[in-house]
Amino acid sequence: MGPVALAIHGGCGVMAKLDLSEEEWAAARVDLRRSLEAGWAILSAGGSALDAVQVAVIVMEDSPHFNAGYGAALNAAGYHELDASIMDGQTQTGGAVAGSRHIRNPIRAARLVMERGEAVLLAGHAADDYAKAGGLEVVPNSHFTTERRVKALAAMKEHEKQGTAAKASESEKHG
């Protein structure tokens, strides 16, 4: 058996401009650690890289501290459109969903698309329908909304009115 390794990211940006409290920074680091531990548990037990990356991403999708799943950014119309993809290096197959509104964990839907092999990328309501028909959990779009994201969108709209969008903070732009 060869070596195993795992790496994750939860987004990049101008961190100094993130309006996070010390508690929120600490909580984000805890969730990064949880993500690593989830993936590592699979790899160290001889599980697949594919399963490891999926569970690692799910932990972050379910965390409010990252821009994916619960806590994701809002679009200009005030709702969430979520994208995800997964790729298996062994088989050179991949699956993805774009613009999904209701799939609780979009990475699970990407995996489903990949494994069924009927398509590589499904978009919009078709992705939602495909996931639901495949037995994945679907939720109201409001499930993904956090107070931080609502405030960030309102701030960006105000910046647009004032013509100051370029001065928006990182958390207002990306979170």
Partner: protein
């Protein structure tokens, strides 16, 4: 955006990425995360890549595939290949970006050209690292 890359004991690589895009994005906008070869890519024997940053540029530069191609065809190390794009090409153009990648030997690269990146990894020796800023 969040993402993960892994090498398993059987020598197989995988990558995954998930995102909400960015605040106030146009309806219907699709970034790089669901585009295989842009924000996500994996190829056994070479590397697995997951990106974060200005997605349109990850699409235009096919970043995930580009990193793998540099490793496979130019023989660059994972660190060289990923830094070539994120640091050498994107940073001078103020294209904020980062990625995590792992190669077939378990080497890990996590370059970014912003002030920081939420990131973490576990080495083949089982050592955990979590970071946010430089």
């Amino acid at each position: 955006t969040v993402g993960a890359v892994a090498l398993d004991a059987a020598g197989h690589l995988a990558a995954a990425t998930s995102t909400g895009g960015y605040n106030n994005k146009p309806e219907g906008r699709v970034g790089d995360s669901p585009i295989i070869g842009a924000g996500t890519y994996a190829r056994d024997g070479v590397c697995a890549v997951s990106g974060t940053g200005k997605g349109e540029f990850f699409i235009l530069h096919a970043v995930g595939h580009e990193v793998a191609s540099r490793v496979a065809y130019l023989g660059e190390s994972l660190e060289q290949a990923s830094s070539k794009i994120i640091i050498d090409e994107f940073q001078p153009r103020s294209i904020g970006a980062g990625l995590v990648a792992v190669d077939a030997k378990g080497n890990i690269a996590a370059p970014y050209n912003t002030d920081g990146m939420f990131r973490g990894w576990v080495t083949p020796e089982g050592k955990f690292f979590v970071g946010t800023h430089d």
